[in-house]
């Protein structure tokens, strides 16, 4: 088996744009008989996806439950609470890789544009900083 544990960062707020990444992660999970953990980052303040961290966690775990149906090991969810998600997202995801002991990250990212020279996309940042494989889905 090439991969034992796949981590899939989920942006609950933009779940509509994540279909392809989710499909990819599910397919790879089945393919390798791996475990799947979906990871979400939220702030302590009310946001679009949830009113508070507890609600966010509940939604994420409900999503994991559904994605896990039909997977060999089901799917886990893990919520991280950040003071300032915009600034901390990349660092938290990098820590999460170690935390959940993943050996492959599958994540959605937009198509690079000129501005990414100044602000790299989160997927791009992960790929260049993580010490495991990162599958950036565009």
């Amino acid at each position: 088996m090439w991969y034992k544990h796949i981590m899939l960062p989920i942006d609950l707020e933009h779940a509509d744009r994540m279909g392809k990444a989710i499909e990819t992660a599910l397919a790879l999970t089945v393919q390798f008989g791996a475990k799947l953990t979906i990871v979400g980052v939220t702030s302590e303040l009310p946001g679009v996806s949830a009113h508070n961290p507890a609600e966010f966690e509940e939604k994420l775990s409900a999503l994991a439950q559904r994605l896990g149906e039909g997977l060999p090991h089901g799917a886990q969810s893990k919520t991280y609470v950040a003071h300032d998600p915009t600034a901390q997202l990349d660092a938290i995801l990098l820590d999460a890789v170690k935390d959940v002991e993943a050996d492959l990250v599958v994540m959605a990212s937009h198509i690079p544009n000129a501005l990414n020279a100044i602000w790299p996309s989160h997927g791009g940042k992960m790929a260049s900083h993580a010490d495991i494989s990162v599958f950036v889905v565009r």
Binding site: I22, A87, N113
Partner: protein, 557 residues
């Protein structure tokens, strides 16, 4: 593979959350407000060429308004300056009773809440844990809240009140007092004039300003963390306006908050650059040309930019802690090398003097010392209140997990005591130099140089003055970065996870507005305008008081 053709839409059902209908309480039972509003409902977002996620009305009107107002004040500053300064003068002159009365209400409510059972309510739910350590939390709220003013007024204000109190009372032909002495003054009585001067200064930097911040911060923290509303100023109006708060009444409150914050910050940045340049000139003989001023503004903005991009923990918090450490070093230095024993005993006697004069100083009606009550006190109250949306929102953002009692002690009592120590050390040393050594350097110096004149009489002048200058600059940075985070969140409809380019936009806007106003004239006009927003916000704050009590009554204690 389930998806043979990569171009077809993925068939995963992405409607997150179906059975979960009730919102779980944050951590433990709280009263979540059921509202139809969804955060981000009125936002427009893009993830293409330039990522953004903004509240369409609030962002657009604020950004265009800032642009328009900056151009107007530059183009017509000769006409607008007297108009706005007149407006500010009229407000603080005729409505001084309203500002003073409201200030007292804020203090009394805060003190009441500390002692009432409502103080047991925890922000974020009964089991919520504090977001920040005491040191980080306190550094941030203090650095955002007053910082810079303490640098300039710490020496100058006690001295001003001491001077005017010594001068005693003078009455004009129309029977109105023309002197600026607080209360009845203390003509010729050195000890009493010093006591009165310190009491009046502490009054302006003590319980009242912090109660103003505490009311806004508490209302916002309560309605966001416990009741699930977005972190924007309009949320504390939910108990009053109901669902209409998500429409125009709320837009106006938020836009006004952005206006007063950006012009408050930009004018302080402009005026602060002038003051720092004067300090640099005094110390190193640098010129005070526009080039130096603009360089200073750009440098401050650049550091603030790095800080906001690094975020709340890596940027704002770290800078605030550095700031507090530097301020503590300067404070201990002055205590150690200044009149040590007098400062230590002064802290207690000034605290007693503050308590003794507090009722008379805060009396809203029938004041004999009209110049002092409106020119100093009401002006200060309007000024603090116009800053309160920004400082309050920022304090709210870092205060999750504290109980209301803990919160109020940290936001009200601790800063007041620190202000007493700071004012006693800085102002007391300067008064001591004048009274005991006959040194009139501080008395004669311009406002921005008084601190440096005082430090020049102590050892290691070069080093301490340099620390002073650095502190002034870092205090600006810590206001500018926290201000930008707040403006960005409000302009994004309460979202704190909006893309980075937006906070960069607001930070740079502040710097550009400051430079434009500095070069084109209009700093005085826009500062007067920012202070004038104190009036509408006083009404907002009174509404917040009502909202706090109503909101707390429904929480688990």
């Amino acid at each position: 593979m389930r998806n043979e053709n990569p171009s077809t839409e993925a068939d995963v059902d992405l409607t997150v959350q179906t059975e979960v209908v009730a919102i779980p309480a944050p951590e433990g039972r709280t009263e979540i407000i059921e509202t139809d509003y969804e955060i981000g409902r009125d936002n427009i977002a893009s993830s293409w060429k330039l990522e953004f996620d903004i509240h369409q009305v609030v962002f657009t009107v604020s950004a265009l308004g800032v642009l328009a107002f900056t151009f107007l004040t530059m183009a017509f500053h000769e006409e607008l300056e007297p108009a706005f300064i007149g407006l500010r003068g009229w407000l603080t002159g005729n409505l001084d009773w309203f500002f003073l009365l409201s200030g007292n209400i804020f203090v009394l409510l805060s003190l009441f809440l500390i002692f009432s059972p409502l103080g047991k309510v925890r922000l974020g739910g009964p089991e919520a844990e504090p977001s920040f350590s005491y040191v980080g939390w306190f550094s941030m709220l203090f650095a955002a809240g007053m910082g810079i003013g303490l640098m300039f007024y710490g020496v100058s204000e006690p001295m001003s009140h001491f001077d005017s109190a010594m001068g005693g009372i003078s009455v004009g032909e129309d029977g109105v007092r023309t002197d600026w002495a607080p209360l009845g003054g203390a003509e010729g009585d050195v000890a009493e004039a010093a006591r009165l001067g310190m009491a009046a200064t502490i009054f302006h930097w003590g319980l009242h300003p912090w109660a103003i911040y505490a009311v806004v911060a508490l209302a916002l923290a309560l309605f966001s963390y416990n009741k699930g509303l977005p972190l924007t100023l309009r949320s504390c109006f939910y108990p009053i306006f109901g669902e209409r708060v998500w429409g125009w009444p709320g837009h106006i409150i938020d836009i006004l908050a952005i206006f007063s914050t950006i012009f408050g910050l930009a004018t302080s940045l402009g005026i602060g650059a002038q003051q720092s340049a004067a300090g640099l000139n005094f110390l190193f003989g640098l010129s005070t040309s526009n080039t130096i001023l603009i360089t200073l503004i750009i440098a401050i903005t650049a550091v603030a930019l790095v800080s906001v991009v690094a975020g709340l923990d890596a940027g704002v918090k770290r800078l605030s802690e550095i700031n507090m450490a530097l301020a503590a070093i300067l404070l201990f230095f002055v205590i150690a090398f200044g009149p040590t024993m007098e400062i230590i005993s002064g802290v207690f006697s000034n605290l007693i003097a503050y308590g003794e004069y507090l009722p008379a100083l805060s009396m809203p009606f029938q004041r004999e010392d009209a110049n002092f009550a409106s020119g100093w006190t009401a002006f200060y109250w309007a000024w603090w209140i116009s800053w309160s949306p920004f400082v309050g929102m920022f304090i709210a953002r870092v205060s999750r997990g504290r109980t209301v009692r803990e919160f109020l002690i940290a936001v009200l009592i601790v800063p007041t005591i620190l202000s007493v120590i700071w004012m006693t050390a800085m102002g007391g040393t300067a008064i001591d130099q004048l009274v005991n050594d006959g040194f009139t350097g501080v008395q004669d110096a311009a406002l921005e140089l008084k601190l440096f004149e005082m430090l020049a009489q102590l050892p290691l002048t070069g080093l301490t003055s340099l620390v002073g200058i650095i502190l002034v600059i870092v205090f600006f940075v810590t206001s500018s970065d926290s201000g930008s985070l707040v403006i960005d969140a409000v302009a994004a409809g309460g979202k704190v996870n909006a893309p980075t380019p937006q906070r960069v936009f607001w930070t740079i806007s502040e710097g550009l507005v400051a430079i434009a106003l500095l070069l084109g004239g209009g700093l005085a006009a826009s500062q007067a305008m920012a202070v004038s927003t104190g009036l509408p916000f006083t009404i907002v704050l009174l509404g917040a008081c009502y909202a706090i009590v109503r909101g707390l009554l429904n929480e688990a204690r």
